[in-house]
Symmetry: C2
Subunit: 294 residues, 2 copies
């Protein structure tokens, strides 16, 4: 642990945030926490974390504050406004948003924070609940390299592949590139399985033939297997993936990139969510196809 | 080698067929060959293969005939009609089409051949030129299991993952499922890289962050790297992938499967071919996006 950073604030203790915070605690940092549902902090409080009654209280007494929440609107609420992190953090504080959020919002946080002498990084992750639990997350960061290097020991306590991808927002942009690649492999895997079934093949036998070659992907191997086992529980939530695809599509449009696969995926996941399937895993896309889709 | 099958006919000695035939020769089989461009047979003839002046001549003197050509129209021409394999093969002959072709055509060959006491298998492959060269192809077969078992030693000389997927046409259907999964991963990889570039990121650094997790795929790792190196030479031809996607889309429609990703991929590759890029590798899809596409 870095002796200049002894107290870390952690806001957002869901499945991901809870595991990530526990690694910081285990690495010897003092942890001040706040989260929407206080019950989720119980385990951390038992192992030494200290509860703070609001984000503002966390911000005012930490050298570093990490946020890990679900949606850009929550990120915006946490950082801006009267009770927000930027207004309540001391100059010199480093604010790190590890949520998957909008690149533009990340850039706006960076700029608004800088005007008050506060530093900000965007550092979304991939690797899911298992990566968070095992401290093997991939961390994609955007911001100043000097700040990134200062924070590196914290990132190393939570992740494995840790890369500064560029200036403010670059971490979020990288996460969007990640989600776009996932969308392709996932749609390909689902349509491949649907085709195999309609053709009267045994899809589990088909997966043996096609998974290890140039058709192979993490999605085909992992979500493909879940589909065949009819396991639609969430590894990654439909509602979160839909949110990410929406951010990516909006961002692509602003950047002047016409990405029809991304547009198709966003449309399909919006349909899934509108059918009330937002709390299932992304592999439930299979059901949209199997049941006929619009 | 199987002593009941001593003489094999091999028709179609392109990059794939040439390598595959050479493994059969090396395994000790007597090989009678014919191909559209006789110059492509030169190497095989030097190492012991015997030239036959037509497909009909090959058919009439072999226990097994393997075909490996580019398009369903060529397959149809080879099997049917007065100079065709079915008319000229002796009863008891086994005809194996290892080209990637239409499942319906495979079923038609099977049926027409059976009426003359001839057995047929469809057995398309994946693994590309390297898989053919190293005898590590994946072979996806359709037909009768008794015939498949008889042919297994030949398949084992050319490939590694060898699976009978079902009845006539099942090999071709499996290959279509393979191509659909490829289409998803490839479009995802290309749109991911385009997004990263438009966002001002360094795509090679982005690939390090995203390739090993849930966004990972053979396409992202291999064709992604080729795109970044601006290497658009054919590992797999645009024109052949477009043909495959067309077969898959047509087949999916007959089966009543609405596959919008497949339809999108087919449209993009048709555009690439119409722009005269059919002889480049599938990763040239990147250029369609980079240059703006319709």
């Amino acid at each position: 642990m870095d002796k200049h950073i002894d107290t870390i604030g952690f806001i957002g203790l869901g499945v991901m945030g809870g595991s990530m915070a526990s690694h910081l605690l285990a690495a010897g940092y003092k942890l001040l926490v706040n989260t929407r549902s206080p019950v989720k902090a119980a385990m951390l409080l038992e192992t030494g974390a200290v509860w703070r009654e609001s984000a503002a209280h966390v911000a005012s007494s930490c050298a570093v504050v990490i946020t890990m929440v679900g949606y850009p609107a929550e990120v915006e609420g946490l950082y801006f406004g009267p009770g927000g992190l930027i207004e309540n953090a001391r100059p010199g504080t480093i604010l790190i948003d590890m949520s998957t959020s909008s690149p533009d919002l990340a850039a706006r946080i960076y700029k608004t924070a800088a005007a008050r002498g506060i530093r900000a990084l965007d550092a979304p992750v991939s690797g899911g609940d298992l990566g968070a639990k095992n401290a093997t997350l991939t961390i994609m960061a955007g911001g100043d390299s000097e700040v990134f290097e200062q924070i590196r020991p914290l990132f190393e306590a939570m992740g494995k592949t840790i890369i500064l991808q560029g200036g403010p927002g670059a971490g979020q942009h990288t996460k969007m590139a990640n989600q776009i690649a996932i969308a392709g492999s996932l749609l390909g895997a689902v349509e491949s399985i649907i085709y195999a079934e309609k053709a009267g093949l045994d899809p589990s036998k088909v997966l043996v033939s096609i998974s290890s070659g140039s058709a192979g992907s993490w999605q085909l191997t992992n979500n493909g297997q879940k589909i065949l086992s009819e396991d639609f529980s969430p590894g990654f939530y439909v509602k979160h993936f839909r949110k990410d695809l929406g951010i990516a599509l909006d961002s692509a449009r602003r950047l002047g990139a016409d990405l029809p696969l991304l547009a198709l995926a966003e449309r399909l996941f919006a349909t899934l969510e509108s059918k009330g399937l937002g709390d299932l895993g992304t592999q439930v896309l299979y059901k949209l196809y199997a049941g006929g889709h619009e």
